[in-house]
Structure formats: C-alpha cells, structure tokens
C-alpha cells in the first residue's frame, strides 16, 4: 500500500510540469490574434459604459433599435448572433446580418450595434431571421 502511495506521488510530480506545459500551450493556441484584438479594442471604444459592463460580464451586450425601441442582444460572434428580446427579456427572434467583407468578431459586433442604433429598418431588411434556441 505504501509502495502504491509513493508511486502515485512520483507520478504526480512527473506529470505536474507536463500539465503546466499543456495549459500554457492551450492558452497560447486559443489566444486572440492581433487582428482580433484590434477588433475588440475598437468595439470597446465604441460601446457605452453599460454595454461594456454587460460584454465583460456575459460576452454579450444589448442595444435598443432606433425605430421600434425593441431590445436586441448582440452575442460575441461573427454571424447569427443577434437576438431580439421580448418584453420579458427572453429570446424572441434571431437576426442574421453581417458586413459584406470578412471581419473579425469585434468589428462585426460593432457594425451590428451601429446598424441597429442608427438604421434598424435597414439592418433588419438585409437580415435573415431564425428561431433562437
């Protein structure tokens, strides 16, 4: 029993650096690229304080449509990430509209925010809708 316990300890000591290395590699691999970081920095500059706090806490922020006053939730993503909320703040309709060029997530979310806050009808006219999960 003692022998088994010692072997277990030794194995843990051997594996600890490997686990640390694996974690470091995972963090490096999943890190946002420079262009993604730039997009997120730009988004953060343009979000209101309330939206920024929401985004930091939940990875989404909410905007009010300029024509209808409806509330939309923009989740972190590059498509299919805009959800219209009902009066109880529950998902009602999903809206998919994106910039015509391939942009990083921060840029896409910023474009969606500006579109809904300044030209809600134009944004929804271009959008496809879907039933949110």
């Amino acid at each position: 029993m003692r022998l088994l316990h010692d072997a277990n300890d030794q194995l843990r000591r051997l594996l600890a650096p490997c686990l640390q290395l694996a974690r470091a590699f995972r963090e490096w691999y999943l890190r946002p690229s420079r262009r993604e970081q730039r997009g997120l920095e730009l988004l953060r500059e343009w979000l209101s304080q309330e939206q920024l706090a929401q985004y930091d806490a939940h990875k989404y922020f909410e905007v009010i449509g300029c024509y209808t006053g409806k509330r939309y939730r923009i989740c972190h993503g590059i498509g299919g990430n805009v959800i219209e909320l009902d009066d109880a703040a529950l998902p009602k309709t999903g809206w998919c509209f994106v910039p015509s060029d391939h942009l990083v997530a921060g840029d896409v979310m910023l474009v969606q925010k500006i579109a809904l806050e300044t030209d809600e009808r134009g944004a929804l006219a271009a959008a496809n809708n879907f039933t949110p999960r």
Partner: protein, 73 residues
C-alpha cells in the same frame, strides 16, 4: 489630430490627419467620398457617445468609422 478608421481584414486601418492642414484635409475628404461611394457607411459619435451615420464629410469630426455594407448571413 483627426482619424478615419476603416474596417478591413486586418481589424482596421487608421488614417490620422491634421484638420488644419489643407492638403491632408483634402485627402481625407477624397477618402471619405471614395469609401462611401464604394458602399461603406460612415459613422461618428456625438458628445454622449451615441453613434450617428453621416453622409457628408465634416472637417470638424475627430473620428469617423467606415464599415462595409450589410448583407444577410
């Protein structure tokens, strides 16, 4: 120093210019017209931070953001 920010594949490209420099201002206006003519939307922020879309070049604006037209995803 005023800035024009163009969203692109690199995240964004920024053009800084001195609005008091006639040549730089003319170049900024030319860039504004070229981008909006190509379908980009120009947006600025009012004092409260809310975005507004602008259709004409305003030499007094500190920061203008250009993004490509929207399409259904």
């Amino acid at each position: 120093m005023a800035t024009q920010i163009i969203m692109d594949l690199n995240g964004d490209t920024r053009h800084n210019f001195d609005a008091k420099d006639v040549k730089a201002l003319s170049e900024a206006e030319r860039r504004f017209k070229a981008l909006t003519g190509a379908g980009f939307t120009a947006a600025t922020r009012i004092a409260s931070g809310e975005p507004i879309v602008t259709r004409t070049f305003d030499p007094t604006v500190e920061e203008t953001l250009f993004f490509p037209r929207l399409v259904g995803g």
